[in-house]
């Protein structure tokens, strides 16, 4: 059964230096509050998995939390670069960052394989691209029935998955609505999981019997973090702060203004 904890206790109990951690949420429901707590607690040498690193991994990388990044699209959506990610890859600042680069289809399949308890995933992908030349973890296998050559990647099995959701009930069952991304797969693929939620309610009020619900017994810890996805958004609660995503371009461009913003807004 999920245990209700403070965000600070949950991070210190679940996320250790050197862990492989996946903070998921596809544009929507990105767990910013949890990422900020990881930064405040000074975690180091993390392997960070995420399809779209987004601003949260830009911040964690810029603050020196990461040793390695596993990803498929590392930009600021609709705006441009993630400058802290670029600085780490191009200049090794604040530390060298190993990258393992995939396509979205591969990442989605790798999470689904992890959730299904499989060692790997195969799919029709990576044909004609140079990515397998720079990522030794992209392999190919032949279908035993048709002979078709298919791409194969190892399943994602993070030590910890962290997601943000709209709400949990008092038993610790979690509801996720809207763009649901790969959050369910990430939680089910991970050894441990933390779900931050907007609120705890008596009744989940799921919209349909097919709503995405993570039963309490699939989640390690739940922490209440109102507005914990900002500047990303929570469907039904608040909108994406697109103007902040645009502003981040200027903030993150140089090391000094990035450091000042982090000190004033996250590390205080």
């Amino acid at each position: 059964m999920a245990s209700f904890q403070s965000l600070s206790d949950a991070i210190s109990g679940l996320v250790h230096d050197g862990d492989t951690v996946a903070l998921e949420g596809f544009t929507h429901l990105i767990p910013f509050a949890a990422g900020h707590e990881i930064i405040r607690q000074g975690r180091r040498n993390l392997t960070l998995i995420r399809m779209t690193p987004d601003l949260i991994y830009d911040q964690m990388i810029g603050c020196g939390c990461a040793r390695k990044l596993v990803f498929s699209w590392g930009g600021n959506p609709g705006v441009g670069s993630l400058y802290r990610l670029r600085d780490a890859v191009e200049n090794g600042w604040p530390n060298a960052l190993e990258i393992e680069e995939h396509s979205h289809a591969a990442m989605a399949n790798a999470y689904a394989a992890g959730a299904a308890g499989m060692p790997s995933a195969f799919f029709r992908g990576y044909r004609g691209t140079a990515l397998p030349e720079v990522n030794a973890r992209i392999r190919f296998i032949d279908c035993p029935f048709t002979g078709e050559t298919l791409a194969c990647v190892a399943a994602h099995r993070p030590d910890v998955a962290i997601i943000h959701a709209q709400r949990a009930d008092r038993k610790g069952n979690v509801l996720i609505e809207g763009i649901v991304g790969v959050q369910k797969e990430a939680v089910l693929a991970a050894k441990r999981s933390l779900v931050t939620v907007e609120e705890i309610v008596d009744d989940l009020a799921a919209g349909s019997p097919n709503s995405v619900v993570l039963p309490s017994w699939t989640v390690t810890a739940i922490a209440v973090a109102p507005e914990g996805a900002r500047p990303s958004y929570a469907h039904g609660y608040y909108s994406r702060d697109n103007s902040f995503y645009v502003a981040w371009d200027g903030i993150a461009k140089d090391r000094e203004s990035f450091g000042r913003w982090m000190r004033e807004n996250v590390l205080r």
Partner: protein, 257 residues
């Protein structure tokens, strides 16, 4: 002329979409073209975004691929693994609309790095959905600004397969989809030549000279035997595009999406 080169590019790209198309939409220029098509000649075009939103009908252009606007207006929203496995890999999408930092004469795209991979001069965002969009969708449309640094003789990295390094690799790899059939830029329209699959200029936008295209293309660009002039934007197309952009600007200012 009462319109900009970017407006011409977006409008020319929008015209390529038909009402019956099911289109996998990239963010930025492709999204503008697709939504313009929906607002003008192709009200029934089906737009699918990789965030899982099927039949999205956004009133304003999303800044990201997963803005709330997409989910709120979609017929259905599925998970990202389902989107890539059942809908894209399953062959349900007729057109993929892509862009990139570099394109070569065979429509191959680079969105990974400028410079060597291990020591990049510029680290670009990476593949995202493009590698599988390019091989799973029935056809590929591309939209990019013309420039010698974007239209290159040799890609720094082959992220997304067009017709392959020699123009012939799709068949060799057993890929049955058509690949790039159209590249719209702010200067012209290019289409692959039969047999060679090399992108050649088939239409010049109003007022654009051949020399201008040649100077802004990093390979020795060739022209089709018959080069048309792109039909200039109609008042209706211009009005619809400007309304869409104005609504989008208002929506994205001040933190309300």
């Amino acid at each position: 002329m009462n319109y900009t080169a970017t407006e011409m590019m977006t409008i020319a790209a929008a015209r390529a979409l038909a009402n019956h198309d099911v289109c996998f939409v990239g963010i930025g220029l492709p999204s503008a073209a697709c939504n313009l098509a929906r607002a003008t000649h192709a009200p029934g075009v089906t737009l699918v975004y990789e965030s899982g939103t099927i039949e999205a009908k956004p009133a304003v252009l999303p800044l990201s691929i997963g803005d709330g606007e997409l989910c709120e207006t979609a017929l259905a929203t599925v998970s990202v693994p389902e989107m890539f496995r059942y809908w894209l890999q399953g062959g349900r999408i007729s057109v993929g609309f892509l862009s990139g930092a570099q394109v070569d004469r065979y429509g191959n795209l680079n969105s990974t790095v400028i410079g060597p991979y291990g020591r990049p001069k510029v680290r670009l965002p990476g593949a995202g959905g493009a590698t599988e969009i390019a091989t799973s969708c029935g056809r590929i449309f591309m939209i990019m600004r013309h420039g010698a640094r974007a239209m290159v003789q040799k890609l720094d990295f082959l992220t997304t397969l067009g017709h392959g390094p020699t123009g012939q690799e799709r068949r060799r790899l057993g890929i049955t989809t058509a690949g790039p059939v159209l590249l719209v830029t702010d200067l012209c329209i290019m289409e692959p030549e039969r047999e060679t699959n090399e992108l050649v200029v088939t239409a010049l936008h109003e007022g654009v000279m051949r020399e201008q295209v040649a100077q802004n293309t990093g390979w020795g660009v060739r022209f089709a035997n018959q080069v048309r002039e792109t039909e200039p934007p109609s008042p209706l197309e211009l009005h619809a595009l400007r309304e869409l952009n104005a609504r989008t600007a208002r929506a994205h200012a001040g933190g309300t999406a």
